[in-house]
């Protein structure tokens, strides 16, 4: 199902931190939402989740760090069952096994609490949990910044493989255009609470139109910095 949200906006204590924005994402596509810190990209991501949920569409969210997704006092199994119940789904060991295998956490002991797992495995567990209901959209907030590069790269590759032939669309929220460029086919650039540019990745990289996009492109690669 195509994701369609119109008129997203957020005003907090008199300041408009997100100007009215429309978002449309086709099934199975991967979209990057990039911008400098404070540009409002996380706000847009959260607003999108809330409005889609209110519209009854299935959407799930993976926060930046597993600390923001898991209760340290509860076991992994508890989290899993709770997520299933929230979607009104009966426990299904086969589905759990498929997702665990896809994200290579099948060896993890679900009776343990989060601290009994490594951070990389915790993050993959959170991703697996987000995929339980095969949502129309998966929103990921800076998924690599809390992980070590090797683990982060593995995680992104596993997720890519899993999503390859599925209808779930991916929205990757990040400050790092280098990361987004590798992972998505369409880029939305944010600045000062507005989406200022929205184009296919190749087009945006080769011919950025706005100042924000140009700045992001120029600082995309460590080895090719402008002097």
């Amino acid at each position: 199902m195509t994701i369609h949200a119109t008129g997203l906006s957020v005003v907090r204590s008199g300041h408009t931190i997100l100007h009215p924005t429309d978002v449309e994402i086709r099934p199975g596509t991967r979209v990057g939402l990039v911008g400098a810190s404070g540009s409002g990209k996380s706000t847009l991501g959260h607003a999108l989740i809330d409005i889609l949920r209110a519209q009854g569409q299935s959407v799930s969210h993976v926060p930046q760090s597993p600390d923001e997704a898991l209760d340290p006092l509860r076991s992994m199994a508890f989290h899993w069952r709770e997520a299933e119940r929230a979607l009104n789904m009966a426990p299904n060991p086969a589905r759990q096994e498929t997702l665990f295998t896809a994200l290579r956490i099948e060896g993890g002991d679900v009776r343990k609490r989060p601290w009994g797992w490594s951070r990389g495995m915790q993050q993959r567990f959170v991703i697996a949990m987000a995929l339980i209901g095969t949502p129309d959209l998966l929103v990921m907030d800076e998924p690599t910044s809390a992980l070590d590069p090797v683990v982060a790269a593995d995680t992104m590759d596993l997720l890519d493989t899993y999503l390859a032939d599925r209808a779930t669309a991916l929205l990757l929220v990040t400050h790092d255009l280098g990361l987004a460029a590798r992972r998505v086919t369409r880029l939305m650039v944010m600045e000062a609470g507005q989406v200022v540019e929205d184009a296919p990745t190749t087009q945006l990289l080769s011919a950025p139109e706005t100042v924000a996009a140009r700045s992001l492109c120029a600082h995309r690669n460590w080895l090719e910095l402008p002097c």
């Binding site: 790269a153 593995d154 280098g178 990361l179 460029a181 600082h219 080895l223």
Partner: protein, 241 residues
């Protein structure tokens, strides 16, 4: 010249660092990369003398490294400043400790080089952006002209554009001041672009030590190769076609 000679550091029952050796000359930059828990922060603490080494020693020009008063730039820019003081007072602390009267011209020059507006120093840490706080942190590290500056994940709190901006400022300051820089980072892209040498640390050991271009081309160790491939996969490095 910094000489780290076979240091080991114990932490609880295990070794946090095991027989780590390298040298670092003035004007040179060494990047230390590795996963969290590999001992990167312990290495910095050991060089600064904040944790005792149970074997080996660290010297600067054959004297204890403490004598050269090395400076440190921290990962969390704001935590390096006392929240109750103006940034100026924190910045001046290394001079106050040495009982040196601050040289306004030198300060202006450093501020100019680090793109710090003059009135910024009169604010509190909570009143400036993270990027600004980090530049003031670098200013504080450089104010007493130390021969050795350690950077502990200096860019990880910043966004992609600000990271590159700050990295360039650090490099410019290094060219002007000629200090030796040891940079601990998990970002191989940064290491490859700005360091002369890259050391890969894993489980407290130096897995490999190569020049930056050689490392990007062909890492000598299997783990080094995994790190480099991950950097490619995350867009931190581009494949050279």
């Amino acid at each position: 010249m910094l000489n780290v000679d076979g240091i080991s550091v114990r932490g609880g029952t295990r070794l946090r660092l095991q027989d780590v050796s390298f040298t670092l000359a003035r004007g040179q930059t060494l990047a230390v990369v590795g996963e969290s828990g590999a001992g990167k922060s312990t290495l910095i603490d050991a060089i600064l003398g904040l944790v005792p080494c149970h074997s080996g020693h660290v010297t600067w020009d054959a004297a204890p490294v403490r004598d050269c008063r090395p400076a440190l730039v921290m990962q969390e820019p704001r935590s390096a400043f006392n929240p109750r003081m103006s940034l100026r007072r924190s910045v001046m602390e290394p001079l106050v400790a040495k009982r040196i009267t601050p040289d306004q011209q030198h300060l202006d020059q450093l501020c100019h080089g680090l793109e710090i507006p003059p009135d910024l120093l009169d604010r509190r840490p909570s009143e400036v952006s993270i990027g600004q706080a980090q530049r003031v942190g670098i200013l504080r590290a450089l104010i007493a002209a130390p021969p050795l500056v350690l950077f502990d994940e200096p860019l990880s709190a910043l966004d992609a554009v600000t990271q590159k901006h700050s990295a360039r400022l650090i490099a410019q300051m290094q060219r002007a001041q000629g200090f030796a820089a040891l940079i601990v980072t998990h970002d191989l892209g940064y290491a490859a672009a700005f360091a002369d040498h890259i050391a890969v640390l894993r489980a407290g050991r130096v897995e490999e030590l190569s020049t930056a271009p050689a490392f990007v081309d062909a890492p000598a160790s299997a783990y080094g190769r995994r790190l480099r491939d991950a950097a490619f996969a995350l867009g931190a490095l581009e494949h050279v076609a």
